[in-house]
Amino acid sequence: MPKAEMPSGALALLILRVLRSGPLHGYAIGQRIHVLSAEVLQVEEGALYPALQKILLKGWVTSEWGISETKRKVRFYRLTASGRKQLEAEISGYQRVHEAIRTVLRTA
């Protein structure tokens, strides 16, 4: 399985992004990123849970109890209003940086 290094700070952005379409539990977040990246990005526990704790502290997501597809009681993470705003800001910031990097790569 091909593995790629996650750029620092990108993980939070991706977590917020996959939560935009609805609440997910921790494992599903990792899976969704994995699938959506065409199996390029692999999010390990050791990175996912510290990032989630940070995001929880910032108040960008909240957690609530739900039932998983395997009928287990687990925590689902839901994007908050401030999380939505943060996501917008991070996406536009990311695009600006991305554009800038591409310009440099093209011209230099």
Binding site: H25, G26, Y27, G30, E44, E45, G46, L48, Y49, P50, A51, L52, Q53, K54, L56, L57, K58, G59, S63, S68, T70, R72, V74, R75
Partner: protein, 835 residues
């Protein structure tokens, strides 16, 4: 802000959130396994890493460290006890000293709004005073707009019928109590409505302590008349127990200042603006929101206005200066060196205690070698080790701090009780003392904890040079303090217990305390008194002196002899003075009537000024005038018996006798003569209330004061000695436990007890000896400095050195032999199984 709030929620519900996190991660693994993927890695460690995001890991580590430190300390109670004692001494001394400073200087008096009270002094070119003519104060009272109230106080002593000692009375403005918020304990206090103007009836308010002492707290005294200076005065109330007034010396009673003229002959007091009128201390309460500077400027301009109205009586260009009035003592710049020295002494003691404890910790590091090695082996980093060791020091510091604060408060309480300070002073530590103590504790923890932690964490403690240095340094410092104390005590004792050079046992001194006498009236009064006294049976001789021996006043001029300035005590006396006081005339002649330019010098002055030459006939210059020496008297330390370097000059009493004091020498025991002598003065002027004292009493009072001084001087030395003993006791007992096995082997192989002892103590003998030598050298240097500050100290007094060294040697030997004796009790069979 929100994030902080959430962080705190995570701290408070740590257990629940941790469980939820664990559940999440378990589920994650479960799901991953279901899809055929295996996760590796320690789940606990992964969880800890996730939890780090909450930012509270350090608290857990801290609690862990504290718990561990508490356990380690509990496991070695001997060490812990010694360490706490050391710190308690070091911190306690500082807490007591700062507590006293706080009480005297920092803490406001228990009066209403003490921070807005100002105390005033007056200054003019060439003039300075801290009291004012009352009339001037009334002028300010009437015209000042920056002060909401003006308070004035004039103190005097009054004689109460049936009392031998005169009472201490404060004449105060009628607003004194209401402005300071002092209510009565009984009856009423002075109030501005009823006591502002002089009434027919004279009234007084009693001090609470005086009421208890003198009237046995009898409530029926209210409304009763007492006789003061022969006048009936009605007691209207008793002041509250906690009422402090505006200083540290509460009077026996308070009277309205309007009555002052009644007790004094200066009837014109209220209208007199000159220095002859009634003199009072002045305070003012600042209007809300104003700065003291504003009041100073306003009053200074009022002073100029007053000068324009009364140009002859008031000072030209007078300006007023204010200082904090709401505190017991105001620090003046001349007190700085003394405060600095006292502070340095306290800090030195703390440093000795801390370096001592540092040595102990270092020694302990040896016994903990295995523990430290294991911790390093299981992955403790150096930072983590240092943190753990420092936490241990912090726990010790906290315990020592608690003990030190308790000790300091007790010392302060005893000090207040012994020195008879007023009751409203509380030894209980306030926030300033607590903050100071906490700061000191923290500094101490750093001082004694840091170096050993660094050394131990490097696992390099076998290098015992630092340990030896620490022992040597503290021995030197404590030895120095002890020798200095010995020098001080010896010097004081020497001065006190040698003959002061004059007769004091059989002398009664009598200060007539004239009120409004002209020089002529004073002259005839003394003539009459002398006649009456001479006719009393039991009186041997009578003399006059301007500065009575051991009294509270003196005249000093400063002159230069060689390259040194010397304070010379000047005394105006009559010719019978030398015979009355039993001061021998060694050369030349006595003073005689009509001698205006003749002086008699003391032998101590003659020896310095004219060494090896006969001083009689020599000129001597004082100020702008030339005098001639006509005689040399024996040296007499008239003013301060502890100053063995004192020198005196005697002049004939001049025309104005009003400041003179009478000395009466009796052949009978002087106690029995007090009453007839007082009666003799009453017969001449019944309106005067002279102060009659046994000189013996004054002498003993001075002696007591010097004894207190000697006691205070020896305290730092004794504490340092105690600390050194504790430290050496701790070190030797460590040396014993560290080498238990070795001692056991030696004993099993037949070593004699004396060999074992020598073996244990030998490693300390060199640092102790070196410390002693350095300490003695330091003491010699220190005494050079001391000699410049305190005269009469001989810097190489062999007895002081020997005594200090002897005490030190005995104490240290005892301290060392206690644990060393334990080495002898070691059972070889058990020692070999040790560890």
């Amino acid at each position: 802000m929100n994030e902080l709030f959430r962080r705190l929620r995570y701290l408070l519900n740590r257990r629940r959130f941790d469980q939820e996190l664990a559940q999440d991660m378990d589920f994650h693994r479960e799901m991953a396994a279901r899809e055929g993927r295996q996760n590796f890695g320690n789940p606990l460690r992964l969880r800890e890493e996730a939890r780090d995001a909450w930012g509270w890991t350090w608290i857990d580590a801290l609690f862990q460290d504290f718990r561990y430190a508490a356990r380690t300390l509990r496991k070695s109670p001997g060490f812990t006890l010694v360490a706490i004692l050391l710190l308690a001494l070091g911190i306690g001394v500082n807490v007591a000293a700062f507590g006293f400073f706080n009480l005297m200087v920092l803490r406001p008096l228990p009066v209403r709004q003490p921070e807005t009270i100002l105390h005033f002094e007056r200054r003019a070119p060439g003039n300075f005073a801290d009291n004012f003519p009352y009339s001037e104060v009334r002028f300010y009272q009437a015209h000042s707009r920056s002060l909401s109230a003006v308070l004035a106080l004039n103190f005097d002593s009054l004689v109460m019928e049936g009392e031998e000692k005169p009472l201490h009375a404060h004449f105060v403005t009628a607003n004194f109590f209401s402005e300071l918020g002092g209510g009565p304990a009984l009856g009423r206090v002075l109030d501005p409505v009823r006591d502002e103007v002089l009434e027919e009836e004279l009234v007084a308010v009693l001090d609470h302590r005086f009421w208890e002492r003198h009237f046995a707290a009898d409530p029926s005294v209210i409304g009763r008349a007492i006789r003061l200076n022969g006048k009936p005065v009605t007691v209207i109330g008793v002041a509250g127990r906690k009422f402090s007034g505006l200083g540290l010396d509460p009077p026996d009673l308070w009277l309205p200042i309007s009555q002052c003229a009644f007790f004094s002959k200066r009837k014109q007091a209220q209208e007199d603006f000159s220095g002859d009128g009634m003199q009072v201390q002045m305070w003012g309460r600042l209007q809300p929101g104003l700065r003291p500077r504003v009041a100073e400027q306003e009053l200074s301009s009022l002073a100029k206005e007053l000068h324009a109205q009364h140009p002859n009586d008031t000072w030209k260009d007078e300006s007023l200066l204010s200082a904090h009035g709401g505190r017991a003592v105001t620090v003046r710049s001349e007190m700085y060196p003394f405060l600095g020295m006292a502070g340095a002494l306290c800090v030195l003691i703390l440093v000795v205690a801390c370096s001592n404890l540092g040595g102990l910790l270092l020694a302990r590091g040896v016994t903990r070698e295995r523990e430290i090695a294991i911790r390093v082996a299981v992955g403790a980093g150096r930072g983590r080790l240092i943190r753990q060791l420092l936490t241990e020091s912090l726990v010790l510091a906290c315990l020592g701090l608690a003990a030190g604060m308790a000790l300091g408060s007790i010392v302060l309480r005893l000090l207040i009780a012994w020195t008879n300070l007023p009751e409203w002073l509380s030894a209980w530590p306030d926030w300033r003392v607590t903050a100071f103590a906490a700061g000191i504790g923290l500094v101490a923890a750093m001082l004694f904890g840091l170096t050993p932690s660094l050394e131990i964490s490097k696992q390099r403690h076998r290098a015992s040079l630092l340990r030896k240095l620490l022992i040597g340094a503290q021995v030197a410092a404590s030895c120095m303090l002890l020798i200095a104390a010995g020098l001080l005590v010896r010097a004081l004792n020497h001065a006190i217990y040698t003959n002061p050079g004059f007769e004091y046992r059989q002398i009664i001194s009598l200060d007539p305390r004239f009120r409004g006498y002209t020089p002529d009236q004073a002259r005839s009064y003394f003539a009459a008194l002398r006649d009456r006294l001479r006719n009393l049976p039991g009186v041997e001789s009578v003399a006059l002196a301007s500065n009575p021996p051991l009294g509270n006043r003196w005249t000093v001029i400063t002159t230069e002899i060689g390259d040194r300035t010397v304070d010379v005590h000047i005394n105006h006396v009559d010719p019978s003075f030398f015979q009355t006081m039993n001061i021998p005339l060694l050369r030349g002649r006595n003073l005689a009537r009509g001698d205006t330019r003749a002086i008699i010098v003391s032998e101590s002055l003659a020896r310095r000024q004219w060494p090896a030459v006969d001083p009689v006939g020599k000129p001597f210059r004082m100020g702008t005038d030339n005098y001639m020496v006509v005689g040399v008297s024996g040296s007499a330390r008239l003013v301060s018996p502890e100053d063995s370097d004192a020198v005196e000059i005697y002049q004939l009493a001049d025309a104005d006798l009003s400041p003179m004091v009478v000395m009466v020498r009796t052949s009978a025991p002087p106690e029995g003569m007090l009453r007839p002598v007082s009666a003799a003065t009453k017969a001449i002027d019944p309106l005067l209330f002279p102060d009659v004292q046994l000189m013996k009493d004054s002498f003993h009072a001075k002696l007591r004061l010097s004894e207190y001084a000697a006691l205070a001087a020896s305290v730092p030395g004794v504490i340092a000695l105690l600390i050194a003993c504790l430290g050496i006791l701790g070190l030797v007992s460590f040396a014993v436990s560290e080498r238990t096995r070795e001692i056991g082997i030696r004993m099993a192989l037949g070593a004699k007890p004396s060999h074992v002892l020598a073996f244990v103590i030998r490693q300390f003998s060199f640092p102790i000896a070196a410390g002693l030598v350095v300490g003695m050298a330091g003491a010699a240097a220190l005494s050079q400095v001391l000699r410049r500050v305190l005269y009469g100290i001989s810097n190489l007094d062999p007895i002081a050195y020997l005594a200090a060294l002897g005490v030190f040697a005995v104490a240290v030997t005892l301290a060392a032999s206690l644990p060393a004796g334990r080495a002898l009790g070691i059972d070889p069979a058990r020692a070999l199984r040790h560890e």
